[in-house]
Every structure is written in C-alpha cells, then in structure tokens.
Symmetry: C3
Subunit: 344 residues, 3 copies
C-alpha cells in the first residue's frame, strides 16, 4: 500500500494543513478504529466526539471543526476529499487489458470501438455497438443490437437484453438485468395472455446500477433512467417508468409500471411506488415509503401510504398517546357513572 506525506495530500485535496507536512499516512480508517499511520475524516457531526479521542495520524475535517490530538486537513467537503484520498491510498486493481479475450464470444457483426475490453466468457450478440474504452468484464452479456456509449463498465454476469441503449460512463454491477420483459398480461377468458413488450430501455450518461437490480423494457417506447442517477442493489424498475436525472435510490426499492419520478429524487431503501404516478422534482422519501398517489416535488415524504414526513411523525405521536387516551376515556366513564369504565 502506498504512503503519502500530509504535505502532498493537502496539495492534492486543496486542503489547509494544520500539522506537520512531513508526516506520512498509509491507510484510511474510521475515527474510532484508526491508529498511527491512518487517515480518517469527520463529515457526520454524530461522530464529532470521536475526533477528540482519535489515534489517527491525520483527519480530514470541515471548516468549523475544533482542534484535535492529530494533524487536521481542512476542506469544504470532508466526504468528497476523503474519497479522493482513499483513491490515492488504495488504488483500484488495474483495468483489464483492451481487446477481446480468446474465451469471449463476440458476433462478427458487432461493432467494438477502440480500446474496448471483453473478458473471458463474455458474450456480445449480432449488431451490438460497444463504445470506445468500454469494459465488458468476464461473463457479461450484451444482446442483439444493444448499444453502449464510451467508458462504460459492465461487471460479471450483468445481462443487457437486445435493443437497449446505455449512454457514456454507465456502470452496471454484477448480475443486474436491463431490458427484461415488462410484466403485462391480459386475461383472455382462459389464461393470462402475454402483452408483447416491444419497447426499449434508455440509460443516460453517468448512471450507476447496482448488483441484481432489474430494469424492464417498455411495453412500447422506452423505460428511462436519467443522466447521473444512481441505483443501489436489488432495485426493481418496471416497464415504462421514467426516472429523472441525478436521482439516488437506496437498495430494494420497487417502482411500478409507467410511474414518473422527477430529477434529484432521494429514495430510502425498501420503498415502493404504485404504477402510473407522477412525482415532482427533488422529492425525498424515507426508507420503506409506500407511495400510492402522485405527489409534488421538493418535499420529504414518509410512511405508508406516504404523506409529508411531519404528518407521519404526528401520526406516530398520536399512536403513542393512544393508550393514555383510552385510559382517560375510561376514567371519564367511571366518573360520570356511565358503566363499569369499559369503553362500551
């Protein structure tokens, strides 16, 4: 693991150093676990008490942090700066070499841009187009006529069905599925007859898609994920859903068919959205929200059915008061001689 002096680090991060520029750090670590040679950070005020007691050699902090028993690197966004520092201290494994591995299966009619890498066992079907420098890891699958922009990275086992489109710099994690059939049937009197799912999926630039996340192709037209949106693992996006740009969805969220969610949405884990809803821009949803109707953007929602967060908190307060309320009513009844004090 490489080590780096605090002087070099401060200059890389544009940080103000409070401490000895010649000291070296080797490893990133949490404030509580860090020891000599470790670099830590403080972004969440919840952990501020740990700063005073840390054994880290240096800590990246925000502008308002107090002094501490270690060197400090002051920046505006400690989270972001620590991310850069981790990249310096723990460089990722080298990218796989450009070229098609002899154990890959690439149809001769597929078009591969310069610098593309295709790993062992990966499969690229007829008519697919792979943008320059895109990496298809081992065992990735790209279906017929599917198109990927430049600098994408498709991890092992990810499946891109035929005729879907990915923009530039899209990352698709292992065993994610893009372009599976939308879930649509019509009862014909005897059986659920399949409704053809003839549309596509369009993924914008700079989207990241988590492991085992599934995004269905549209019935017609396109299921769409806006540029810069980040989807965690095990998320389900149904046919004809449209997500705006720069959304962040935590794991295990489900979005039902044809729902549109505006840009900048923040969605907590295990939330679910009914079909055919319209959600405005910059809406935030707590974990486990069950969203059953269209909602304006710019607000924070919670609960099931989802409502503005402060209303959910209020309902929880009312629920908590329920035992006392029943007690009060029983006491009233006893006092008024209306019976034995049971409620009826």
């Amino acid at each position: 693991m490489p080590s780096i002096t605090l002087g070099e680090l401060a200059s890389h991060l544009g940080a103000r150093l409070e401490g000895d520029a010649a000291l070296r750090v080797e490893r990133p670590a949490g404030l509580a676990e860090a020891g000599p040679g470790d670099l830590s950070f403080l972004a969440n005020p919840k952990y501020a008490p740990q700063l005073a007691a840390t054994r880290a050699t240096a800590v990246i902090v925000g502008p308002g942090s107090p002094a501490a028993p270690c060197a400090l690197l002051r920046v505006d966004q400690p989270d972001l700066a620590f991310g850069l520092a981790v990249g310096l201290l723990c460089p990722p494994p080298p990218p796989p070499p450009a070229g098609v591995h002899p154990r890959a299966s690439v149809d001769p009619s597929a078009k591969l841009g310069p610098g593309v890498s295709v790993g062992p066992g990966a499969v690229v079907e007829a008519g697919a187009v792979i943008g320059e420098r895109t990496i298809l890891h081992a065992l990735a699958f790209v279906g017929r006529e599917t198109e990927l922009g430049p600098d994408c990275e498709i991890f092992p086992g990810a499946v891109l069905y035929p005729r879907v489109r990915l923009g530039a710099r899209v990352r698709v994690h292992a065993n994610a599925v893009i372009g599976s059939d939308g879930f649509g049937y019509a009862w014909d009197g005897k059986r659920h007859a399949k409704i053809p799912q003839a549309g596509t999926v369009e993924i914008g630039d700079d989207v990241e898609i988590g492991a085992c996340t599934t995004i269905d192709r549209a019935r017609f037209g396109a299921t769409g994920i806006g540029a810069g949106t980040k989807l965690d693992n095990q998320i389900q996006i149904a046919h004809n859903v449209r997500l705006g740009p720069h959304c962040v969805f935590a794991a295990q969220v489900g979005v039902s068919g044809s729902t549109r969610i505006g840009g900048g949405a923040m969605v907590g884990g295990q939330s679910g959205f009914s079909g055919h809803l319209e959600i405005g821009d910059r809406a935030a949803f707590s974990a486990r929200c069950g969203v059953t109707k269209s909602l304006p953007g710019g607000r924070h929602y919670s609960g099931y059915p989802a409502r503005p967060h402060e209303l959910q908190l209020e309902e929880w307060r009312h629920l908590k008061a329920l035992p006392r309320l029943r007690e009060t009513v029983r006491a009233l009844l006893r006092r008024l001689g209306g019976g034995d004090g049971s409620e009826d």
Copy 2:
C-alpha cells in the same frame, strides 16, 4: 419498422373500424405522446380524457368509448388487441438458430430434442433433458438431470439447479434461479446444522418467471408453481411452497416455506407471506400486504397484518380521525373541570 393499413389491422384484430381503411399506422404510442402515424389504445378509463385530444392516427377502444378526432378500432378487450397490434408493428428479434453453439458446453449424456437452440457459454450438465424447440440463451445453466418441456425459453444467466422440472412453454428471465437449497437449519447446540434440501421444484406449463426471481427446492417432495402462473422480477419462493394455476405475482413478493396459495391469486408488489399458511383460490392482495395467517379465497386483502381490504380502509379512516378524537376528549375534560385538559 413495418407499417400497416387500418383495414388490415381491423381484420387482424377482429375490430370494427370507424375511419379510413387506407390510413397507415407505424408505431405504438401512448395517447398523450402519440402523433401522426401512431397507433394508441384506451383500456383504463382514467385516461379517457386524453382520447379527445390525442394526435394519434388511430386508437383501439372498447365498445362504449365516444367518438374521437381520429380513427377508432372497436374491440371487446382493447388491452389484448393492442398487444396483438404491437406484435405486428414491432416484431421481436428473430429467435436464435437451432443447434448447439460451438462455445456452449453440453454434456454428452444430456438429451436435446429436435430444434433446440443452445447459445454461447450456456452449460447443460449430465443427464439433463431439453424439450423440442426450447431455447437456452447464452450463459444459461441447466443442472444435472433437470428436465425442460418443449418450447421453453431460458434467458442469459438463468440458473436451473440439478433435478428440477419445467413444463412446456416456460420462460425464465435473466439471472433467475430455480432449485437453490431451501433455507433450513437446526441448532445442534453449537451451530446451525444444515437440514438437507433433497426435494425438487416443479414448474407447470406456460409459467413465466421474472429476472432475479428465486425459487428454492423443497426439503423433500416439491416446491410447485401452477400452470399459467406469472411471477414478476425479484420474487422469492421458499421451499415447499405451492402456488396454484393462473396466479399473478408482482415484483419483490416473498412467500415463506410450505405456504400454499390457491389458483388465480393476484398479489401486489412487495407483499410477504408467513410460512405454513393456506390461502384459498382467487384471493387478491394489495401491494405491501403482510400476510400472517391462513385466509379464505375470493376476497381482497390489504395491510399488515393483512385483513379484508374494507377493514384496512376503515382502520386508515379511524387513524385519520385520531387527532380530532384527542381534541374532543381534551375539550370534554376542560368542560367537565377534570383538570387542565391534558389527557391525564
């Protein structure tokens, strides 16, 4: 993309045409987005107002729809007819050719029916039996002694463990897993000792299984999915579960071990069922139901714990009235001089 005249289309769909039979449509589109050359449909009355304003060339409608500023194709089931029309306008990619791709690995003892297609990287283990015309896409896996009926389609990355059985015309989407071990352990005083999962999975004819859905093999006997049942993505079916025929399960549902659900069940997304339950035929469950006990069929259930839908709606009404109820009791207390109007 092929185009088709409204006359031809009406005859294909058995529809009554109100408009010019020589007009041509090229693309399916939603009522709101459609323009000249587009074919749309109206099945959900919620969208009826869009019909008056549509710019589509033609719209498929039900018997009772009013006239509109475009040609109309009247049928009994617009959903179903539109599905057929989409199939005509957007033919799917050609099926892969019959035969075993040179990059597939098929054990010599496996039996492949006539017309079977095995894609690059697919693996078929010893003793497996693949019915005629079944398609194993690239990177699909069929374990030892597993048997598939005719005309199945197994998408990339789907895994069929050893010794499971699929009927005819079963479709298994990408990265679904059938036949993984049931989840069973018994604490032996020191550790969770594994209980062997020696049973199988039996999938009936015409079942469709979504991407990343997992169906565990039975402890003994069989986990079973009834004919014609449709499972969306990311559904979990535990060991020894039995689903009846013609069920429809939306995404991310979980069914715990040994639960039996009757035929024709409709289950909303993210619902969950406890183990060892018996659910009657034709039960319907709203999204996010948490079903904790056995329930008779033929009814609509909601909530957690799941109850008849109208009771859940009633509970929501009572909850909504709770703040006013507390206000009323406080006012009573003030009026009766019982204190300061707080509840205790």
Copy 3:
C-alpha cells in the same frame, strides 16, 4: 432411491425404535401426504394431530410424543434427525470431479489447492487463491486476488469481485454477488461524485449465502459476515456492515451501511435496518421489522419503527379498539348534550 430398514435407521440416528426393525422406508414425506414406505417426522406441535392419522411407515418424533399407528423413532431433536435421514434416503448428486474443466478460464497466476474443481465457463482471475477441495461450479466468477478457504462451494453465476476473502466451508448460491461497490456518493454541486469503495468483504467459516443475495465491499476496511451465519436469498448487505457469528437472516432483508448486528441474531423476512446502528447479541426480529435505532440484544422486536414485540402487540390491540373508543366518545358527547355526537 435407496431403501433402509428401521433398525439400520435407528442405529444411524441414535434413535429409540418403537416398531418392527425389519420394516423398510424409501422416501421422506410430510405427515399428511405420507403413505406406505414413507418416513415422516413431527417437530412442530402444530402438526401433532396429523400423527394419529398418518399412513407413513415410520415417523421420527420427540421424547414426549404419544403412540401412533406406525413405527416411531424417538430422538431429542426430530428436525435434526430427519435431516440426517433425508441425507441417507436421498443422497445428493455426486460432486463434480476435481480438476479444471477445459471450458473454464483460470489465469495462470491463480493458485488452486489440491482437489479443487472448476466447472465449464467458470472464470478465475489473476492472483486468486482457491482452497483445497473447493468447488467452483459452472459459470462462477472469482475476481483478482480473491481468496477462498478449503471446502467452499460456489454455485453457477455467483460473482466474487476482486480482493474479497471467504473462510472455510462457505457456500455461495447461484447469482449471489459478493464485493460489489458500496453505495456512496457526495454531491459536488453538479453531480453525485462517486466515493471510492476501496475496502473488502470478509466472510467467516461455515457461512451460507442465498441466491441473488448481494454483499457490498466496504468503503475502507471490511464488510464482515461472522462465522456460521446463514443468509437466505435476496438479502442486501451494504458497505461496512458487520454481522456477528451464527446469525440467521430470512429472505429479502436489507441492512444499511455501517450497521453492526451482534451474534446469534434471528431476522425475519423483508426486515430492514437503517445505517450506523448497533444491535446487541441474540436479538430477534419479526418479519418486516423496520429497525430505525440501536437496540439492546436478547429481546424480540417487531413492527416499524421496531420496538419490543409486546409493545407492538399492545399497539395492535389499541388500534383494534379504536372504532369502539370513537363510538364511546360520541355517546358521551350525545349524553352530555355537547352537540350532535360528532366528535367536534
């Protein structure tokens, strides 16, 4: 299928036989479905009435079970003993042969212990280390410098990203993913900038991981799963989570980043945990718990937000009484002449 005499079986299981030692059983079956030649068991008292009516040839029961119309094999733990018996009656398919299949892709720099089996289509990248007798099934993926202990079994389509570590006897089911990037971004004013996920995943000995379960690598340090812990299908474990030893998690649970859960936890299906929590040892959680704060161990929790189970039951009782409470208050108002009996 092999058959076995009750005498042999009793001696294998250390059971006390009540019945004819020469009788033979061939198949395991449930009490209700069993017929002649079948072996069944009674562990859950719920099924005790089925014992009196069973047609099984023999049943494995606990010490206190009454006599029955069949032979009985008495043991202390019928569940465990039946598991052993199933293993005898239904031996699993033979393990794949040791050695590297010609269709596997193993980097020359990977180190394979003696007796390792690598199936067709499996990929092992540079610098990986595979412990002795470990089985990599077809289409399994092991990334650069990842290390597996002895006697592991990695099922088809499972993906082990680079630089993760598995102990001995770890089983990873099909299409599970270990070591995908943790989900971390920081808004830089224009976009969600990716925070490097430079840590690893450490899986202890004797862990079993279900199909399509995903375990993210740490931001730095390690995401950890304690020895003997069992994870069902479709579970999501976020970066830097730490699970203690001997936990049992049912399907579709999600654990958010940096949460620590003590040893021996039992977690019901579809539960979720917020990030940065501390949960003590031997906590139990009902299905669908939503855990939003740190909780001491040794207790049973339910509901959302999760609370001690008895409090959740109490809340459900209060909710059930709510309609009657409203009725009572309305009656009081009418009696006191405070209006029309509506609540306000």
